[in-house]
């Protein structure tokens, strides 16, 4: 192996664990884990978009707080599907993934999306929930929603690209 960076060595070590090997060599566990990951991110991104569209000002007649109370648990539940399945898929191919550009882009974008959501919740979210019913969301709120949609779509693109780079 030419690349002997610590990341490459760690990737090799993870991929060579009993778990990594078992996943790669299994006939049905592997496709099942992939399926869980796909179902999870379909519902995750779908639920995020519903909220983002509302935060952009689409369907302002739908009250924000009940909508969030309904959708946020769905979004968080989806994390329970995507994170464990994602970690397993990473373990199966850690040696390839640590040097995979699409994977690195995806992970960076994931952290950006999480930071974006966090910044919205500690920032404009507080004033948004107190705004009178039917008020147009503030420009800062619309900014965070736009960035969220853009990041999540880019994450889907980068994720699909992992197999092709």
């Amino acid at each position: 192996m030419i690349d002997i960076s610590p990341a490459a060595r760690l990737g090799d070590a993870i991929a060579n664990t009993a778990l990594g090997v078992a996943l790669r060599e299994s006939s049905w566990v592997y496709p099942m884990v992939e399926t869980i990951h796909i179902v999870g991110f379909a519902l995750l991104v779908g639920s995020i978009f519903v909220v983002d569209l509302r935060l952009l000002g689409v369907r302002r007649d739908v009250a924000l707080v009940p909508l969030l109370r309904f959708v946020l648990p769905v979004t968080l539940s989806c994390l329970l599907l995507v994170i464990p399945s994602g970690l397993l898929l990473f373990a199966a191919h850690a040696n390839d993934l640590v040097g995979n550009r699409a994977f690195i882009v995806k992970i960076v974008l994931l952290f950006a999306a999480a930071t974006n959501a966090l910044m919205f919740h500690v920032g404009p979210y507080r004033t948004e929930v107190d705004a009178p019913h039917g008020t147009r969301p503030r420009s800062s709120t619309r900014f965070f929603a736009t960035v969220s949609i853009a990041l999540w779509l880019a994450i889907l693109v980068a994720g699909r690209m992992i197999a092709y780079v």
């Binding site: 060599e25 592997y30 147009r136 736009t146 880019a154 780079v165």
Partner: protein, 130 residues
Amino acid sequence: MSRGRFLAARALYAACIACTVAFALATPVLAHHAWNEIDTAQTFRLDGRVKSLKWENPHASLVPEVSDGDRKGKWSVLMSGIARMEARDISSETVAVGKMLALVVSPSRGAAHVVRANRITSAGKGYVLY
């Protein structure tokens, strides 16, 4: 155009830019999985003994060594994922190291001596993969 539609259009516009950027950043100089990697219009036969086997997802692969003729040498043969092969009665035993295989393969467009197995004959039994 309503205000809502305008905002959704702006989000869509930003999303298109972000996807293009993600695509550009993620696309490497060297792709091991090129878009049109396998030239399925071409097929040829390889008869060789299995030197190594990777029985794994998402694609299993093996290296047969062809002992004579124009195609003499080692080849990198891509197969499908494990579930797809098992559905066609191919096990890791069918293509184990040391087995003599007759393969009908399609070549990679980019890489020399890299092919995809379309049909495998092992121990007198034929298997269709693609």
